[in-house]
Symmetry: D3
Subunit: 326 residues, 6 copies
């Protein structure tokens, strides 16, 4: 994958104007209030997958519309006291899989809550949470990016971001978790969700988005053919009269707008040859963050960016957070 | 596309055993009764797309769950009396588009009702009918073939086939249509839907499935990688424990089983190099038909089969039906 | 297909210099005179394809070199009086097929003559007109774009454009056609032919080129690998010493040069992600038109551009022409 | 390229029935007589390409229809007396190029005449001989395999095989060539032409077809998608009613039928993973040869078969011919 | 990926004859003796990657030729007493990466030694062990499958399998490991290495090969084009005279031959749509095992087979081994 | 392949800064001295491949590390006196093959020595020279571009360039060669090696690099995905911390730096659509040459550039050298 986007020196200061609806904050305030009308009802049922050094819990809490959302909670066995917790969101198309898929943060001494992404988990890793779509939801281009996209109210990611904010609440209610020390993390779609949550939940300890998806939709839909951003172009190729309506909806969900609302310390990563989440869309969000932040640039990487090499970077970042050093 | 399936002489008598649930007929009787609880409420609103030789109507009727389903009705302008009517179903991923997309049957002197396929119409031709999915519907592999596939009750095509049976009722209620002379037609997914409708509606005048999809799912999922049958394999690659459950559901929707219930005269077409709907899956259904039938074999064709060359074949077949000669 | 060509705001005024031979008009005057030496000999034989609302005619007239060229004429049945007529040219590789392939304009109340493209019609829709190549015609790169390209006199499109000018004459001679109201139309290659005819025939009622091919050959051969423009590069990769000779020939056939000679009202369409006929080559022609003109821009479309959605646009444009409102 | 055709032990005796027209020999007798009506008019003009150890000549002779056909003649400089001569035919799409492209046989001490293939030479190596197509020649699928295929009289390879028979006559008339010692050779299309010539010219010294094309057209068109056999399937996909007519024509040009008429000693080569000229089509011809023959089987090769490694095999075979040992 | 290999019912008993050299055991006895001439010199240096629930060690031991081989050892922190140990080998192209890449077995309560594969680790996960090739090693096809393949003495996998046998010795020498309870595991190439080690080391507790590579080379090189088996065909395409020599070498390294020497309990896995390690090559080995064995068949999987879903299967199998229940 | 690199007018003066190590000349002086410690030991054994107009010799000489390197020497038979000699280097992945592969220069009247490239010759044309890698050589990305790349001392091309300088010495020691008239030539990798040799050997008669590889590695690794430059990016994608170290090594091997040291007359060629060796990397070297030079630009060519058409260009250039006119 050759370099196809802007050169690194331009990316460092790339700050394109992005349309932000006037009622952006009101929309999200209303959305989260609506969700709070349902009790959280977070449940943690211990399950045995043969992991002797960790405790594993099957998690269920009520997300958007009060619908049950699944997840896993892992915790180092025999860890005394309440632990800091990482809430993680998953990449596009995958589901929560099994606890054995999520050993890193608990092995590092933290609690770790992984949230299933509603409707996803049939393309690469199994998910267990349906997406009960409200009226007005489709037709859509196969996938999730245009599900309900004709209105911010019915858009799929309104439900996902709400679930994700509730997942933070569930983590704070979990046994053995210190509610004052919760960070959010995730790669690709998980990174995009992290940005949204960090823009909506004011008191997080940190945010770790890797190669975040869901940033600067318009540029993404113009410079890459790669899935899943291509779903927007695919939809608009057929629904030719809906261009402004669709981008009008997406403006409520753009990581660039969430980024300017994030005050928690942040660690990003980006691959300069990433055609899935082009580096300019990542920097468009990153450069907006007003607070403490850092980004690892992997120049010869595509969407895999730092992969396993970035794991110790993340653990080092967490250990540097106040009260996380263990 | 080289020949990759069975040779033609084998296809001519290919009749593989296909699992048919004991309560197949009861399931469909119940399904259609449930739908009849909602009034049909068929409406036909004349619209002007500049077609002076035809009348065009925007159609709405209530399908599965009472949900509004859209369509178009075309009729030769100034045709005296009630006309025979072709009800057509659409290929995978496309929607009803515009009346200008559907000129053939009306130009041939028939009424023509085209049914939108719920949820579809964002990949190649625009659709206007959402699919309001009931509880329990997903996660699914992107597309439609595994939507709600974990139970026959929630499976997507239960709703589609119900819509399609209701579309025949709507056609019969349409102005200027002779309710005793209705045939069903369609290519690919439209062909699969035609088979289902012709197996469920006893008094049709004819059925014209071209390269029908939705036949012998298990073989299809094993011999082709092509979309959209690959959605079944894709889903089962992730949901590894669901193989029998999924094929248990699909058995209620298999064109092979519907075929053995069809008594209307039938004209099929098939392409021997068709990797999308492999010829063996088409002949598996065709060979089951107990009644009058014929099939056009296009040996060097893929999924396009006869294309425009098959249109006069269809018109000739219709003119040969009792009372259709005009 | 990401955006790969110039941005829309640049395209709006894109007017690159294109080499136009000094004897461009003389060349074409001579070419058409030479053709007129043969009698037109237009014949219209009614055929029955089961279309009751239309009359269909098998058309033969003498084109370039006096060679018989085939076509179809369709006309709304029972239409009183002489009708306006659309003469349509076909996209690359296809032929006239069957009358059932061409229902739109006649259903809209117009006469419609479709011209077969000599030599074509074996790649996607059957053609019935050979191309009898004169001496000096090849070797060539497989296809049509370099057939006889070593001289304007022997170049393939010299014969095709001549046929097309004669097709307008044939339409004017057709029964039930008002010779004063003839428009030309076509997509891709058909659009390129339309531009040539409209530049050569002064008194047309309108010209409707969709995503026209055969415009600004040099730029096209440098910015796209897609067929069929890639035939020029393919030929020049082997015939390395023929670059200027080839572009010297193509300069006599460039839609950009024809465009500056068009005075009939025009409706174009273009897809901004079209790699087959890149948008800059389309705008290079469009921006040259001195007269009344409009262009529909489909931003997320490739070569399909507006597809069925553009049909009502065309009908609306035709109804707006003087005497076409019906 | 995995093994996709029959296993080697089956290939060794593979002898499928191939339709041979009753008037096969009469057709070719007539064709060659017709050609002989034109004087051969072979001319050899010495040219200097800087090759000091060889003499190189630009060749022109009159082929089918009396049309000039080009070629090169190479000869070791200072070789005393008349030499044996290899007449070589070229692979599909290429032309005669330059004398520097053809050094092997002359360096080995033989005269070497390379014949340009009419119409070809714009895809990979430049050709200089047009194909002046007679009336009735097209439409065709781009390429050469379906040019004039609707009748044996107009079929492209009727002209090519005639040229090739005349090339042997030209070689025999060349300065410094011993007319009693002429062999024919070629790879792919050149191998197919060699088979035809060796079946039509009774007194050749040898025939060396590598991976011959133009053998068992029907099987080839069914088991491979690779170019150029795919042109037959591509043509028949559009011209659906012409299947028997096309194979009826091709039966006059099938290397399998020519093979049974070859009495000169033969050396073949074949690649077992060759999707371009599948090994079963090669063995179908090879196994028919009644005389002395041998075949080199390259099991892990595709269409490249033996490449440079096969050159010494060919030279050894030639040295073994009577009077060729030098 | 459609089913392309034998059907499951045939695979269940597929037992093709595979050439086994008469001195197979002597060759390996000599090879391992030669290696034992070098001291093992196993070193375990604790490193900190921020994993608080585990101890992690940088491992170095002397493998084939006395050359240093790297690895990681992980162990649950605070586990009392000596633990059973899983020795794992890595898939083709990857290296040992970081300890954070290998958390499963230690989290399950076992010691875990991961061996770097010499020379590998530059395609997907970083390796740190060079392959110092002895004289006679190449030329080779890029990759590892033909490195030194012209003789069993110089073949690359002779060194790798020797390293792997030594890795078991290193594990047995590791602190906190119970030398009587060591199992070997790995996927793809790691599975192939596991088979070799289990055939060479008599007293292992278990062997867990997933989708093993390096089995039935000849069949693999004929039925799949996928990397890395394609390296054999690629090499033989160029080294045409080396077919028997190469398969003569590979016969000393075939998992099928090792399988018949394995007496430890075994758990295999296989994907029926796996083109990388075709299921028939896996069953060819599996069906040879004389002892206790089981295989998980993933019918709709390619080379990923059971992925994360197979992890609990492996842990359950290990807990069932004598003394591994914890 | 569309134009993807800089436009020709920019290329004509493109002279990017390229990092050149301060001890570049010292490094190479030391390297060549080290090689000279081994006797050249050039041997020329006549072999018979049936080429009667040429003498062919199997060549062996001692290259880097004193290791035997193979080659072929060809000479026009019966040429009186010592001849000028072309030393040729081979493209990536191929080997010396057979003498029958190398007839051009000897047929033109020159001696011709072809050097095998150590380790290569298993991808397209057989090689016979292993690469005995010193300690510290790997892991590497499959191929040759990153073999030993972590230090200039161990880098693969240090050995290759040394072999190549020695090949010139071998040519000068060959029977019938005039040691004062030696030129170097080669395409792609062979062109890159030619540049190095011409920069290291002061008294060459000429240098003929076609589409040279191994120039401006950093730009190449950023603008093309094509093999083999993609090996650098592939390696750095895994070895993320080695970017500067790797480019630090490559700086000792960059054709751009060698170019500025070349004083022999030069003839280059370049294809403007060459994605393998992008034209900007070729011009980066070409524009640096201080002496007499010329370049043939093939605008519509990819990596094949001039192919056979460029052969007479090369012969004409050679004839123009002092004492080469014959």
């Amino acid at each position: 994958m050759a370099l196809f986007d802007l050169p690194l020196e331009t990316l460092r200061t790339y700050a394109p104007p992005v349309h932000e609806p006037a009622n952006f904050d009101a929309f999200w305030r209303g959305t989260l209030e609506e969700a709070r009308a349902f009790p959280l009802d977070a449940r943690f049922e211990e399950v045995d997958f043969g992991l002797r050094s960790l405790n594993t819990f099957d998690v269920t809490f009520r997300g958007s519309g009060g619908q049950p959302v699944k997840g896993w909670l892992l915790r180092p066995r025999n860890a005394g006291g309440d632990l800091p917790c990482v809430v993680e969101f998953i990449g596009y198309g995958g589901g929560r899989g099994l606890p054995t898929d999520w050993l890193t943060y608990a092995s590092a001494g933290y609690a770790h809550l992984v949230m299933d992404t509603r409707g996803q988990g049939s393309v690469w890793r199994r998910g267990d949470t349906p997406d009960l779509a409200p009226d007005g939801d489709n037709p859509q281009y196969p996938g999730f990016l245009t599900r309900g996209v004709r209105s911010p109210q019915t858009y799929y990611y309104r439900r996902v971001f709400t679930d994700a904010v509730r997942a933070v609440a569930a983590a704070r209610a979990a046994p053995g978790v210190d509610a004052t020390r919760v960070a959010v993390a995730g790669g690709s779609q998980g990174g995009g969700i992290s940005l949204a949550v960090a823009g909506l939940v004011p008191d997080l300890a940190g945010v770790l988005p890797d190669v975040p998806f869901l940033c600067h939709f318009r540029r993404a839909s113009e410079i890459t053919n790669a899935a899943p951003y291509n779903e927007v172009a695919g939809y608009l190729r057929v629904h030719r009269d809906a261009v402004e309506e669709v981008f009008g909806t997406l403006a409520y969900f753009d990581g660039v707008s969430f980024a300017s609302r994030i005050h928690a310390p942040a660690l990003f990563s980006v691959g300069l040859m990433d055609e899935v989440c082009p580096p300019s869309t990542v920097f468009a969000a990153y450069n907006r963050l007003p607070g403490r932040k850092d980004i690892r640039v992997y120049p010869y990487s595509g969407h895999e960016a730092g992969e396993g090499v970035h794991v110790p970077e993340r653990l080092r970042f967490l250990r540097g957070l106040s009260g996380w050093a263990g």
